[in-house]
Symmetry: C2
Subunit: 395 residues, 2 copies
């Protein structure tokens, strides 16, 4: 939780630089003080006022930039690339992009042009980095210190992977994983398996997976994995392979480092290994996006987003007193399906004073967002509501 008084003092010290950074549209945030880096060239079309630039490959959406109209615009959506983006030439002629399909009865390569005529589906889903919330782990987990903004809710359009599988004769016998490979150029002189972006997900993920060429109504950009990205609704971001060049059905998980030892939940101080839980399905989660620091006494609009992860979200509660008492918030806008988030709003009558605002979501099977984080070496999968709470001063 933020120390609001400290933040106000720092904001005053920051002066006009902070005002310019927020372009008058958003309030300030603690991270905005640290990060005033310009947008990297390949994402220079994004909205700088809505983003925190951690590095050229890691851009976070500001907490206060997420509104109530459900979709996260392409200009506000976070970016997290494991490797530098490939040459922009690959999105100049998207239909020529080829993907190899293996582990099917009739394996072959297909162009994106061919895939587009196999079938089309559109899905709204939360895209969230495994490390979203890492900044809240007290042990200093290595990696980008995301708070809540390595997440967004977007529309993807593409061909269902199941339709491709059907066209290629079905999956080979005894195969248990869908193993997909990204088209990044690997630097020379380093063992490829150490860097290769190749992830395996269990076959149950096939039901909703699509190969997507469109994001929020626009051709998929290079920054977000264009011309073609594997989208696995309900799964953490790393499984959504950018510039996907191979989809293979396999008996075992890949031995690429990103799968074998990376993206595993393990005790603090312990190394990664294949027998630890992999970052696959996401869990129920919510957070408040406004207000974050200060509000005027009277009617105060408390808003945020909630999602179930791999299941629908059924409700979300808000507490004004750090979790002692809870009341149901109201979802606003249409339900975009089980993998999307839902904006929520609670309008409260608040007197002057200090409040600790928290939110707690419940998924369709009754799983409740936990109070505590699960400490783990790499700071993955944080959905504890306590660390996501907001310290509010009402004046």
């Amino acid at each position: 939780m933020n120390d609001t008084f400290d933040l106000q003092r720092r904001q005053l010290l920051l002066g006009s630089a902070g005002a310019v950074a927020s372009a008058g549209l958003f309030g300030f945030s603690p991270l905005s003080l640290a990060a005033e880096m310009p947008l990297p060239d390949y994402v220079n079309w994004k909205n700088p006022a809505a983003l925190i630039v951690h590095s050229a490959n890691t851009l976070e959406t500001r907490r206060e930039a997420i509104g109530t109209s459900i979709v996260t615009s392409n200009e506000q959506l976070f970016v997290r690339n494991n490797l530098p983006a490939p040459d922009p030439a690959i999105v100049a002629d998207p239909d020529a992009w080829t993907v190899a399909f293996q582990g099917v009865k009739n394996p072959r390569s297909m162009t994106l042009g061919e895939l587009k005529n196999l079938g089309v589906e559109t899905v709204a889903c939360v895209l969230q980095c495994s490390g979203n919330g890492r900044a809240f782990f007290p042990h200093g987990a290595s990696g980008t210190p995301w708070t809540v903004g390595a997440a967004g809710c977007v529309f993807w359009s593409g061909v269902p992977v199941s339709a491709v599988v059907d066209a290629l004769g079905g999956i080979g016998d005894g195969l248990e994983y869908m193993t997909s490979t990204g088209g990044e150029t690997l630097p020379a002189g380093i063992e490829p398996k150490d860097l290769l972006v190749e992830r395996s997900v269990p076959l149950r993920a096939l039901e909703h997976a699509i190969l997507a060429w469109e994001l929020n109504g626009e051709p998929l950009s290079l920054a977000h994995g264009g011309p073609l990205r594997l989208v696995v609704p309900g799964y953490y971001g790393v499984n959504n392979i950018k510039y996907v060049k191979q989809v293979a059905f396999t008996a075992a998980q890949t031995d690429a480092k990103i799968q074998a030892s990376g993206y595993r939940i393990r005790p603090v101080g312990q190394g990664g290994a294949p027998d630890q839980p992999s970052m696959w399905e996401m869990s129920v989660k919510s957070w408040i996006t406004q207000p974050l620091h200060q509000a005027k006494a009277g009617r105060v609009r408390i808003q945020g987003v909630a999602f179930g992860g791999a299941r629908a979200v059924q409700g979300v509660e808000v507490s004004l007193d750090a979790g002692k008492n809870w009341q149901m918030a109201r979802f606003v806008g249409p339900d975009l399906g089980p993998f999307a988030w839902r904006p929520f709003v609670l309008i409260a009558e608040l007197k002057p004073g200090r409040y600790t605002l928290a939110s707690r979501a419940i998924d369709a099977q009754g799983a409740v967002q936990p109070e505590e984080r699960l400490d783990n070496e790499r700071g993955y999968g944080h959905n504890g509501w306590q660390d996501h709470a907001v310290s509010l001063v009402v004046v």
Copy 2:
């Protein structure tokens, strides 16, 4: 309908300029040949490859730029302003914007900051200019020659007007219209009523109307009516008052020219008058967005968008032979509610030859999109499927 062979010849003549304009993302379109104007400054953040610039105040989304992921991004959304946009200063401090409410029991002005704490709703709806399709009228209706791109489907967030009315004691007795006024600066020396953007809609529109401050997850930009716009779901664009500065409940419609004689359906050659139908509720409509000119023989993905207007759309049919035979297309993606459009897809096996592709939508009450346009002086409300058909060459 386009003459595809002529177009191909013109594209060849255009050479690399056309290739640059489409940025490799979209095919060519007839209008792209005529309009290569740069984006005006106030919308320089939009995607030039997706837009046709008719004038500084009129920008059309290219037909082929509309995909299947439902939302039209802010960067692709059309612009139609009746007057130049006000000073950008009005969006620098949005919460200070004030709106006067009249014709309620307790009339007063409220700031946007106050309105935001009254309530929040999010609605997905088609925003469409009354003159969308005007280019298809053979009598040369005056006004921007829109084909299909003066329309988009977007998310708005804001306070329900009904919640404001409740907070102000309810509507005065005997009042039948909601009359709203835009905040444009009127040029000196011209009768204000001739230029004032002030529109009246019947009270039944109150049920769904919101005062919106957010568009597709971002604070509402000046170009689209920020900081605050009246949104009347299911109604033509002109009723969605930008920079709204007054909402009044009135016994009669305003006598501003834009209402009294403008935006009226009237016979060709006849002047406008208050007894003619006003451009209020939209009608059932659809159009194909791809393919527009040429396709390879084999499986061909035919896609488009369909909506019911003021009612939900229940289905859409596609014809490959200029309307002699029809088959049902499939909607893709989640249903965003009665005022949104639905992308549709039909994958057809096509042999080489010439085809005339048409689409025909049906609304929730069974009203079918008509074959013919209704000729009228200003070229409003065109929803005839014949003029929206596409001439396709399969090779």
